[in-house]
């Protein structure tokens, strides 16, 4: 082969094809790649790769580690496209790695203005991709587009002035010609929204406010001017149904967190899921899990889309395990409530009525002296991703058992300052906290098995077609469970808290599993 031919062959080999919208829709059909935060538009975080199995997972071995020079929590879910991995580092950097070796290909380092206000760490959970472009939200409340071969900045659009407490922390969602992203800042009296930007130009195409303002549906659910500081942030990636052309997003707590007196009413669309037309941002329906929340139970969990029989009828459903302790099944075309039940101990509600609205137990609001309520302030689960395996037909979720003391305090709004109206504390109540990975029947929420964790985990779960469930723990373990039974098949101490969700990909034909722990990204495969 001549030099020129050899070069041409090499170029052909390494040339990366553009990621098309059709590929995104069919992401689950190409399991060697991981094309979006939750794996596919249905947010099932399930890998179709079968090489790793309960029989061979004991031979799982470290393939490489990427050490990030960070002290902040490392929450990224990597994307992998044809042998190249894309991760984000806190606060808002993007790095491309060779997926076979972990060697860095390029890095986009973003300079940050002084003191962006982020409640819980200057974190970032990942990028989105389409064509030759990567998209990320930044903690200074911008959206950026990068060339995925060089990391070059292509456009940079400010969503809103970060100085009043807005930030961007979640991986965006690309739908057709738009990149969708919401704002965090639920502890700063922001007015939350979800935006769509033109992927070519960065121009904003629509905005949906998650706090209903004047002239909008739900305005009357906010007393007085409280809508102006109503929070309802968006900090976890939404889902998308291409047939219905609807995109589903969970929303955060109303502001202030623990004192609802200054915002009487249901506070739409806080602690809700909103179904929006992906082209226009128009609300098709909404469902509020926790009307007038006073416990900081954001509904920023993954909204998982499943197609399955419910009460003898095939339905397109949306399922989610909520921070308020209940598991929900909704019709995702209409928002109709189909089913709900607790998946952890909860003491705040007597139950759900026929429309899914909670029937409150008396005396469970925060008080100046502190009120002991279950679940705790971090919820029955938190932002950690659940997964669904079509092999076992089970929904897997990291559950948190325990209560908190909820304190009500004053709520004075000052722009860019914390606006919380109290606080919550776990340390002053009895130490009955524990965590678990739970497998639920997706139609009923009934528990099929659990794997107990000594400390509740904020890490997500990944299921694989080989019959495994991967999860990380607060005490630094990465582990593989049997997807059918929950038995502990393999674990390794990674030496740092796991605050991210696992993903899987293949490189050179071999399955890999990746997890961020401490300040390292760890990649495993069979030895």
């Amino acid at each position: 082969m001549t030099g020129r031919l050899l070069l041409a062959a090499l170029v052909a080999q390494v040339a990366v094809a553009q990621v098309t919208q059709a590929q995104l829709v069919d992401a689950a059909k190409t399991p060697r790649n991981w094309l979006m935060y939750s794996g596919d538009y249905r947010s099932q975080r399930h890998s179709g790769l079968t090489a790793l199995t309960p029989a061979n997972v004991k031979d799982l071995d470290l393939k490489w580690v990427y050490q990030a020079k960070i002290v902040e929590k490392f929450e990224t879910t990597p994307l992998v496209v044809d042998g190249v991995m894309y991760i984000t580092l806190p606060p808002s950097d993007v790095v491309a790695l060779d997926a076979a070796t972990g060697v860095r290909l390029w890095e986009y380092k973003r300079s940050m203005p002084p003191r962006p206000q982020v409640c819980c760490g200057q974190v970032n959970r990942g990028v989105a991709i389409q064509g030759d472009r990567l998209f990320a939200a930044t903690v200074d409340a911008h959206v950026i587009a990068l060339d995925r071969k060089t990391g070059r900045l292509l456009w940079d659009t400010e969503m809103i002035d970060y100085r009043t407490g807005y930030s961007g922390t979640h991986a965006p969602l690309v739908v057709k010609d738009k990149v969708l992203v919401g704002v965090a800042g639920g502890e700063y009296g922001i007015r939350g929204f979800i935006d769509a930007y033109d992927i070519a130009t960065g121009q904003r195409k629509w905005r949906f406010y998650t706090v209903a303002g004047p002239g909008e549906f739900g305005r009357e659910t906010w007393a007085g001017d409280s809508w102006k500081t109503g929070g309802s942030s968006v900090w976890i990636t939404g889902s998308y149904d291409p047939e219905l052309n609807l995109t589903y997003w969970g929303t955060g707590n109303p502001g202030p967190d623990w004192n609802g007196d200054v915002r009487l009413g249901d506070n739409l669309f806080s602690c809700s899921v909103v179904a929006l037309d992906a082209d226009t941002g128009q609300r098709k329906w909404h469902f509020q899990f926790t009307p007038h929340d006073e416990h900081d139970w954001d509904a920023t969990q993954i909204m998982m889309l499943l197609d399955r029989p419910v009460r003898g009828q095939n339905r397109k459903v949306l399922v989610t395990a909520n921070r308020n302790g209940f598991y929900y099944v909704l019709d995702r075309a209409t928002g109709e409530f189909l089913h709900g039940r607790p998946f952890v101990k909860q003491t705040w509600a007597v139950g759900l009525d026929e429309r899914g609205r909670p029937v409150r137990a008396p005396g469970k609001d925060p008080t100046p002296e502190g009120n002991h309520v279950y679940p705790g302030v971090a919820g029955g689960t938190n932002w950690s991703s659940p997964s669904y395996s079509p092999i076992t037909d089970l929904f897997y979720v990291t559950a948190r058992e325990g209560g908190s003391l909820y304190f009500k305090g004053e709520a004075d709004y000052k722009p860019g300052r914390r606006f919380q109206g109290g606080f919550a504390n776990n340390e002053r109540v009895s130490g009955d906290w524990y965590g678990a990975v739970r497998a639920l029947d997706p139609s009923t929420g009934e528990r099929k098995w659990e794997h107990k964790l000594r400390i509740p985990s904020i890490a997500g779960v990944l299921s694989t077609a080989g019959g495994l469930v991967f999860v990380g723990t607060e005490d630094g373990y990465f582990k593989a469970l049997d997807a059918s039974s929950g038995s502990d098949l393999w674990h390794l101490n990674l030496g740092g808290r796991v605050r991210a969700s696992p993903m899987s990909f293949a490189v050179d034909g071999e399955q890999r599993v990746a997890i961020a722990a401490g300040s390292g990204l760890f990649v495993f495969g069979l030895r």
Partner: protein
């Protein structure tokens, strides 16, 4: 909001000032400081800064520094290795808490620092009793209990009396007792060093580090009782006063 606790641990240490922007003459700031203190601090330090399980604030002695900047840092970041956690609150709120603590300090100035050595008991007899009954666990060289050489500067006499008579009432998380029994039947008692889902590590009563796989343990018990026995019966009331006089008169 996500994990509040994580942030409590992180704290808000990025203070921009060396000194408190508020003065004790600022009644509004002081009132706000009192309110914040009653929210965040009272549980361990008591409203008077002298009646809780935490370090005594009704004193001008500060183990971790008494300058404004140092007190700010202690509140914001906490004290590693102790029960004092950091606080995730606004900078000016921390300054207002510091202000209220300064007032507690000022009000206490007539009462001297820490616990009073002159409230009864003979410190010389107390020192001998302490050496004999307490020294093996509570000296600078021992590991099973806190070194009490300077405890009088930061704890009230009442708190110390309670700790001698009812040691099980409040047990510091730093000194958590654990009792295990191995599958072979060996019983081991000591202080917990660390544990995770698969392992457990302790300092046994002979001060040896012992590490176990949980699968090798038939039983793990965290007793509600302190490793320390009560001295309510083994000391007379007069002897307890002697020991208190010794402890309260220690290093400052």
């Amino acid at each position: 909001m996500r994990l509040l606790l994580a942030l409590l641990a992180l704290g808000a240490s990025a203070q921009t000032r060396e000194t408190n922007p508020y003065a004790l003459t600022d009644r509004d700031a002081l009132a706000k400081g009192r309110q914040l203190y009653s929210f965040y601090c009272v549980f361990c330090h008591g409203m008077d800064g002298a009646s809780g399980r935490g370090s005594q604030l009704a004193s001008s002695y500060r183990k971790h520094g008494s300058s404004d900047r140092e007190m700010y840092r202690t509140i914001a970041d906490g004290v590693p290795g102790t029960e004092m956690s950091g606080h995730w609150i606004e900078e000016d709120e921390i300054w207002k808490i510091v202000l209220f603590v300064r007032q507690i300090e000022q009000n206490a100035s007539g009462r001297g620092q820490g616990c009073r050595a002159d409230a009864g008991g003979d410190p010389v007899r107390g020192a001998a009793l302490f050496q004999h009954a307490c020294g093996s666990c509570h000296s600078a060289a021992s590991r099973l209990g806190p070194d009490l050489a300077a405890i009088g500067a930061t704890r009230s006499r009442e708190h110390l009396r309670e700790s001698i008579v009812e040691p099980d009432k409040v047990i510091s998380r730093v000194f958590r007792a654990v009792r295990v029994r191995t599958n072979q039947g060996e019983a081991v008692h000591g202080l917990l060093l660390n544990q995770d889902q698969y392992t457990l590590h302790l300092l046994d009563v002979r001060e040896q580090i012992r590490s176990f796989q949980r699968s090798a343990l038939a039983e793990v018990v965290f007793p509600k009782e302190s490793l320390m026995p009560s001295f309510a019966k083994s000391f007379s009331a007069g002897e307890i006063d002697d020991v208190l006089a010794h402890l309260c008169g220690g290093k400052r």
